[in-house]
């Protein structure tokens, strides 16, 4: 997302010896954005887009308000402690207290699956050497002991000089608002899978129950070690046969907490049936 603040002065870029390297976890969204998590003044975590197209840290108004970060007249606020998941910490960092319209659009369209609370831009990123590699689970941020000069800021005179592009930006915002109104939707409900409490082994025909954890939902339903599951029925639906532990897992990966599961079981050569009320919050 390309955001803009205009400039004040020219600066030099001294380089200094580097310090620690951090492994920064990220999530790649369905919109191909790189999302990091960060705690602000010890609260959170909040979700941020890593954005070299943004001139600074941006924090959504409601987040800033809930943390008691008071912006000045130009909407700059100070975050006393920004801790990025993976261990990179920056103290006393300035940020724009504003959710850019692109963020509002993405949140209202529930495009990303998680709410986005802000953008991590230049005044944070420039302090690190950052390796972005989508084949790896983490980004590598190496602290450079370098304090980037503050980004320049737009003045009303600049706005006048910029002319048409400013109008176009407004047009773009209006279009985004229209699209948002058309497609706005509620975010998906996200729930942890229901819990059984069984360890699976290898089996040639069916899912072999290697062990049943004591007092787990599976134990309370009457499943025992050595049982071979040959069929599954969830939500009162028809029994589906299973030939492996992987097949059983695939079918039960769609089950919500507190649902009933019926299993067709082969126990020491006899066919039987076991009903389990799956647990909540277990794994």
């Amino acid at each position: 997302m390309c955001l803009f603040l205009l400039l004040a002065h020219l600066v030099s870029f001294p380089t200094r010896p580097e310090q620690a390297a951090y492994q920064i976890p990220y999530r790649l969204t369905g919109t191909n954005h790189i999302v990091l998590r960060a705690k602000l003044n010890g609260s959170g975590p909040y979700n941020f887009i890593m954005d070299t197209g943004a001139p600074s840290l941006f924090v959504a108004e409601d987040v800033a308000k809930s943390l008691g970060i008071k912006p000045d007249a130009q909407r700059w606020g100070v975050v006393d402690r920004l801790e990025i998941e993976g261990g990179a910490v920056i103290e006393k960092i300035k940020g724009r207290v504003e959710g850019p319209f692109q963020l509002q659009t993405m949140n209202q369209l529930a495009l990303i699956g998680v709410p986005i609370h802000g953008v991590i831009g230049y005044n944070v990123l420039a302090r690190f050497r950052i390796a972005v590699d989508m084949t790896q689970p983490n980004l590598t941020w190496t602290r450079l002991n370098y304090h980037p000069p503050p980004p320049a800021v737009v003045t009303p005179a600049d706005m006048k000089r910029l002319g048409q592009p400013v109008q176009n930006q407004k047009q773009l915002e209006a279009m985004a608002k229209m699209a948002t109104a058309m497609f706005a939707r509620k975010p998906q409900e996200v729930v942890p899978r229901g819990f059984l409490g069984v360890e699976l082994g290898d089996a040639t025909a069916g899912a072999n129950i290697r062990s049943v954890l004591a007092r787990s939902p599976a134990a309370e339903g009457g499943l025992i070690a050595g049982d071979v599951v040959t069929g599954v029925s969830t939500g009162g639906k028809e029994l589906q046969s299973v030939r492996s532990g992987a097949a059983l897992t695939a079918l039960l990966n769609e089950i919500s907490p507190d649902e009933m599961v019926k299993l067709a079981v082969n126990r020491a050569g006899f066919k039987t049936e076991v009903s389990i009320k799956v647990g909540k919050g277990g794994l």
Partner: protein, 279 residues
């Protein structure tokens, strides 16, 4: 016979040498604007170089209508009546009825090349503003380009390094279309990839998640976890909610050791857990 062999060996060498030399790192200058934006010089379809903003927040690679015209990209445009020469009224200088998508045969930054890249032709207002202040900027290098490489940004050293990696960016338009057509109201279930043998809950206002139950005979018990322990992170990833923990557990395969950071009665401790095959 012998010469036959030599010829084969020679042929092999000629074939093998360029292959062996393939994935190399390429470092190019990174310009840092006073606005905090960064740019690189890129050759498009062998022409240029053009100055493009490198933007990790842009899923798409953009080029200006001016450059698109220079490259002779006219395919896909429905109403070409509106000229590309800064026609009044807008960022979509080519007219609103056009298809803004086009393909470039090559986008090259130094010796780093992406072939057959889908791009958008659009006069992005922020790029236009930057051009007014800093001189010509002709577009944005986005995720569709940089994700094909291990991209190392160094603002202080004013350079960026690209090394090829085996990553094909997901089809953005297909994904976004799917996301928009999915009208919500549905639910998504997060399934752990292995059996941990414990139950978790969240105490509002307190850090981490609390272990409410440890099942005898399971991996959590083997690791020494007890009911009442507070788990604050797993492999340095925060577990601030039950869903956080499940999100993470969905990526942890059976048989892999993970480090849990926990607190028991206010005392921090590290525990090693090896989840097993199960659910």
């Amino acid at each position: 016979m012998r010469s036959e062999y030599c010829r084969a060996a020679l042929a092999f060498l000629i074939w093998a040498v360029p292959c062996a030399a393939a994935p190399t790192a390429n470092t190019v200058p990174l310009h840092v604007f006073r606005s905090g934006h960064i740019s690189v010089q890129a050759r498009l379809n062998g022409q240029g170089p053009f100055r493009l903003v490198l933007d990790t927040g842009s899923p798409v690679t953009f080029i200006s209508t001016k450059v698109a015209k220079k490259l002779g990209l006219s395919a896909g445009m429905a109403g070409s009546a509106t000229s590309a020469t800064g026609a009044p009224g807008g960022m979509f200088g080519m007219g609103l009825s056009m298809n803004p998508f086009a393909r470039l045969k090559s986008v090259a930054i130094g010796s780093t090349v992406a072939k057959d890249l889908e791009i958008m032709v659009l006069d992005h207002p922020v790029i236009d503003m930057l051009s007014v202040v800093e001189g010509p900027v002709e577009g944005i290098i986005g995720f569709s380009f940089f994700s094909r490489f291990r991209t190392t940004l160094d603002y202080a050293g004013k350079q960026v390094t690209f090394s090829p990696v085996a990553f094909e960016p997901p089809d953005l338009m297909k994904n976004v279309f799917k996301l928009l057509m999915n009208r919500g109201g549905d639910k998504r279930i997060i399934a752990p990839a292995a059996l941990w043998g414990m139950s978790l809950d969240k105490t509002a206002g307190r850090a981490g998640v609390v272990v409410t139950q440890v099942y005898a005979g399971g991996p959590a018990e083997a690791a020494g976890l007890l009911a009442g322990d507070i788990i604050t992170s797993v492999d340095s990833r925060w577990t601030e909610s039950v869903l956080d923990f499940f999100d993470l557990a969905a990526t942890i395969k059976p048989g892999r050791d993970v480090m849990i950071q926990a607190a028991r009665g206010g005392v921090a401790m590290d525990l090693r857990v090896r989840p097993r095959t199960g659910l």
